[in-house]
Amino acid sequence: MGRYVIRRLLQAIPVLVGTTFLLFATVYALPGDPIAALGGDRRLDPQLVSRMREQFHLNDPLLVQYWYYIRDILSGDFGTTFRGVPVSSLFEGKFQVTFQLAITALVFEAIIGVGLGLWAALRRGRWQDQAVLAVTLLLVSIPTLVSGFVLQLVLGVKLKQNTGVDFFPVAGIQDGMRSYIVPGLVLAGLSIAYLTRLTRTSLMETLRADYIRTAVAKGMSRRRVLGRHALRNSLIPLITYLGADLGTLMGGAIITETIFNLPGIGQQLFQSVYLRENAVVVGIVTVLVLVYVLANLIVDLLYAVLDPRIRYE
């Protein structure tokens, strides 16, 4: 087990090198000069420009630039922006916001998605099942932009106006955990729909298994057959989805963060791409890749806990 974890962590190194390089190359290939952009409409002093190009190694070939970047990262230095601000200072607090948002969404996803899916599977073919399928289809087709603004208006504004209930903050993070409820729900929307359907299919498939028939033949109650014999088996594929989704949620939080004015990493990423702050873009994505790799490792370890047929040497 320990050796497996170490091996998996070592395997993450080429993944990180590959993704950062790809990203570095993409940003490098973008048209326009980031230094010239600093001046906006005005032309900058050519001497200053050439000094900055020297300082940021912009005249060196791609591979050399990349080597400098990796070297600095390994010593814990994410570099500075073209405006002279240390990149790591831009990260401060922002990853936490995004992480908290993603985790909130993941919790919603797990509870609502799995719950709804199980419920639908147990009422297969009846109207409840059909209703769940219809609702998930609807959820899939509503873009975050729409659901975000609608929920913001309904829960944050109308609810307060009409009933006086002021429970759902819909902008900023000054209300602590509560600030994340509505944004988390919005961010989770699409994933809830997918997970509901996945759970439904998974449980229905498990219920067709021979060992379920065995459990019934052993005289076990329906409750026990579902709760003990079927549940654990049908959870296995869901864990994979949930794990992979953490990365997707963190990377996909930009729109949600913007709507609800959450100072997360998504907003920072968008801004940095816009301003051609390459060091920030690559830095953020590197961290996101790391989160993704770790989440997948945890999933694989959970797998072994749920399914004894999987053992890692």
């Binding site: 021979d210 060992y211 065995t214 019934v216 033949a217 005289g219 088996n233 004894p308």
Partner: protein, 346 residues
């Protein structure tokens, strides 16, 4: 009663009279499908007594497994439906019994084992847990006692090193050992009836013989009634007392195992017997019943076997044969059973 734990669940009509331990009477089972109603079982009757072994023979789709599942009450309803028939256990019809009363019988007094033990055992629980569950759930036994009982049962079905293997998972056992675990689970509460649905089909020939031997032995020890469902006549010849041959959802012949094997009274039974590979006929082409099993959605008119039958005469196409009485203990659903019988005894 041999099992003191079930004394409190005695059925109202429970009696020792002439009623057999378990009697299936004119059972019909149909399935609602998109293509229409599939009549999987059409008026099957058979019975088993304590200590007796009934072999139910027939190819896939003949309704033998569906009948067994109807006895157990583990059919998915819907799509399955039982429009007619009775399954009497100690004289009481199980089909009209309230669910909770039937739940007291399922697994405890009538138990079942299945064909493929790997898929029939839950992959995520240890075998000890799965065997012990019978005691924990049905008898409220503690975890430790249930585990101890599981080891005892594993010993009883002769799993080597039971004590060290009780915490292993199903996939860590060989096919034969897995089937032994299934058997251990089924006999845990000393059932009066054990239904074995193709218990050896997924196994090697040598292992098949061991499992059949084990079943026969367990049956003698505890005087269970055993219903052995199989398509393999060779497997049951040694252990069965009587046979019921099924075709197209009907019993086409029932007989004592001796009579049935010596001289079949139905052309289908005869065909099955002739298609067993024999050492003395080595080198010759193996006999096969020509044609295909009947399509349950579109059953042939008259006798369901007539399209494949070498004894077919005109009336077979139009008149469905009743189960003719051949002797006190024997029946055949063939208009020309005398001819078949005569051919067989030559």
């Amino acid at each position: 009663m041999k099992n003191p734990s079930v004394d409190t669940h005695l059925l109202p009509a429970e009696r020792a009279g002439d009623e057999p331990l378990l009697a299936v009477d004119n059972l019909h089972v149909e399935f609602q499908t998109r293509q229409g109603v599939v009549r999987a079982v059409n008026g099957v009757s058979y019975s088993v007594d304590a200590g007796e072994t009934l072999a139910v023979l027939g190819e896939s789709g003949s309704g033998k497994s569906v009948t067994a599942q109807a006895i157990m009450g583990i059919l998915d309803m819907p799509p399955a439906r039982i429009p007619k028939g009775e399954v009497r256990f100690h004289g009481t019809d199980l089909l009209t019994m309230p669910d909770d009363a039937r739940g007291q019988i399922r697994g405890r007094r009538i138990a079942m084992i299945f064909q493929d033990a790997l898929s029939a055992l839950n992959p995520v629980f240890t075998v000890g847990w799965q065997i012990g569950e019978m005691f924990r759930v049905h008898q409220g036994m503690s975890k430790r006692d249930a585990r101890r009982k599981a080891v005892e049962l594993m010993d009883r079905v002769r799993i080597p090193g039971a004590k060290s293997r009780v915490d292993d998972f199903p996939h860590q056992f060989s096919g034969g050992m897995r089937q032994r675990i299934m058997i251990a689970m089924a006999i845990a509460l000393d059932p009066e009836i054990l239904i074995a649905d193709e218990p050896t089909t997924a196994l090697d020939v040598t292992v098949q013989a061991q499992i059949m031997g084990l079943l026969a032995e367990l049956q003698q020890e505890s005087d269970m009634g055993l219903i052995l469902i199989t398509h393999d006549l060779g497997v049951v010849a040694d252990v069965a007392d009587k046979i019921a041959v099924m075709y197209g959802g009907r019993i086409v012949e029932n007989a004592s195992v001796f009579d049935g094997y010596r001289a079949p009274a139905h052309p289908y039974t005869k065909g099955l017997l002739e298609s067993i590979p024999r050492v003395d006929l080595k080198g010759q082409e193996l006999y096969a019943i020509k044609g295909m099993p009947p399509n349950l959605l579109d059953m042939p008119t008259g006798c369901a076997f007539h399209p494949r039958c070498p004894y077919r005469k005109e009336n077979c196409v139009t008149d469905a044969p009743p189960l003719y009485t051949v002797s006190d203990t024997r029946g055949s659903a063939c208009h020309y059973w005398r001819e078949v019988l005569d051919d067989g005894s030559n």
